[in-house]
Amino acid sequence: MTRITIDPVTRIEGHAKITLALGDDGQLESARFHVTEFRAFEAFCRGRPVWEMPSLTARTCGICPVSHLLASSKTGDAIMGVQIPPTAEMLRRVVNLGQIIQSHALSFFHLSSPDLLLGWDSDPAARNVFGLMAAEPELARRGIRLRSFGQSVIEAIAGRKVHAPGIVPGGVAHPMTAETRETLRAGLDEARETAADTLAMFVEMLGRFEREIRAFGNFGSLHLGLGNDAGTWEHYNGHLRFVDAEGETVADHIDPADYRQWIGEAARFDSYLKSPYFKPLVDGDGEGAGSKGDLLAGVYRVGPLARLNVCTTMGAPLADEALSLYRERAGGTANSSFFYHWARLIEILAATELMGELLADDAIEHDVVRARAGINQRHGVGCSEAPRGTLFHEYTVDEHGLLTDVNMIIATGQNNLGMNETIRQIATEWIDGPDIPEPVLNRIEAGIRAFDPCLSCSTHAMGQMPLDVTLVDSGGAVVARRKRS
């Protein structure tokens, strides 16, 4: 057997590697995505006060701290047993939309555009955000400004761009001032235009990517997202909804607090990333054989692709036009993971529209933004949609509010099985024998990037992220190695 390792995978948030094992006939035998970081946040949160958890868990990630702030604060709401003031929910929604804008902009413009615009086969030395700036300076400039706008929304409401303290159990820390409201509204038009123009450009390019659409994780799976009774795109509240590969509802109106009845978490020996699965389709721990014993029977995807499959409309006119075209091209339910990029752009557009509606409502300036209470429940679950997908926090506390147990299910974990299937599919499509050219390796990495995985990158990076590919024969000897520094 020949084993090929891509270590670390580049242009993702965090550290991971990919192993491809080829049989003696040179054909793909297996493909695995390994997460090599060990963070143990759940363990070291124990013993901390529940009020501290939003800012503590926000340290889980420097890219989407707002998502953890929201899920953690919602868990705190449940433990306090409070209904937060309506204005607080509006502000939380605005800040989550800002988070979706900035995170999706990072994914599309900084991480994936080099492949999409410069080409999978272009010079790897220039296939990065800087190469993009040289080739498409106006697009790069607009992408940076779009992300900057999303961050300014976070800073305005939550207090800081990263690890912001303004979202708290019970609501938010401060009301929105008229000045802040006007500043944010002033930036919306440009953000919306950038989103719409980029979306139009992406749709125009689609013809180039027929093979990638067909082979980048194009498989049937379930899709999970938050839903509401109106059927509109939901990112903050609501119930859990699973749909299948044809868009048929499999389970609906699930209280997020009951997630354990529907979602199992399997730990696999070769990755620190857990593998959540849809429980009703898998018997036991997913290690058995047969249709209900196989973990793969319970694969579901979360994030932009899944959210657009779960909703009926975006609830925003421009984004709904875009959704119609998207569904027409995807044939109804989108099952190609390549469409994560497209779904992400539609969500940015929707976020600008929905944020505009929220900021146009004078109620957003009301000064009652926080409910206060002590410990009224010993257990709580908080759930919201992070940019990468549905995020769950679950805490158990003692009578003083000190945590005795913590569980977090992050979006990237829920896509773990889907990412493995994606790299297997890409490798099967492009690899033919042990001589693997760099553009093929790049496509395998890009399959992972389509999910925009975030592997907890809150630690300050001390080094660079080269691509290290090692080819090892069945005896373990290195037969070839290529390093991209």
Binding site: T10, L111, I144, V162, S458, M462
Partner: protein, 157 residues
């Protein structure tokens, strides 16, 4: 009056790595005229938008290779300073300036880096005693430096 931008960066949860941010926060608290301050976990491409709007930029970072605060000018930053491996995780001042040039065809006239000695980068918030002293010296050094630059401007007129 020349516009100054001070960017302190590092991770406050990794001991002395956060020294640059502590310096930046203290400079910001002084509200010096014509001085804009950014205190960030790491350098990111969006900071190019701030660099375009300033005449001089001073980066402040922790450095395990120095034993005293060292202020030096970074000459020759240009659009070629775009390390192909540089991504969201690892953007250096040179790369950020290069990126600014690539985007806007302009960059600050003066680019400087203040390196502060760092002894411990382990998990934990407090700065080591040596870095606390270095932070005090770093703040004083920046204030003097800005003052000297201002006096130079006056003399030129």
């Amino acid at each position: 009056m020349q516009a100054f931008l001070v960017i302190g960066y590092g991770n406050e949860l990794r001991g002395d790595d956060g020294a640059g941010r502590v310096v930046a926060d203290r400079i910001e608290a002084m509200a010096l005229e014509g001085v804009t301050v950014r205190s960030v976990t790491q350098l990111v491409p969006e900071l190019a938008l701030d660099l375009v709007a300033t005449d001089r930029v001073l980066f402040v970072d922790a450095d395990v290779t120095v034993s005293e605060p060292v202020l030096r000018r970074l000459d020759g930053c240009h659009s070629d300073d775009t390390d192909p491996g540089a991504l969201t995780h690892h953007v250096t001042p040179e790369v950020l300036v290069g990126l600014t040039v690539a985007l806007e065809a302009q960059a600050p006239d003066v680019v400087e880096l203040l390196s502060l000695p760092a002894a411990s980068l382990e998990l934990g918030s407090p700065l080591s005693p040596a870095t606390v002293r270095a932070v005090d010296r770093g703040v004083a050094l920046i204030v003097e430096h800005i003052s000297a630059a201002r006096q130079g401007e006056t003399t030129k007129r």
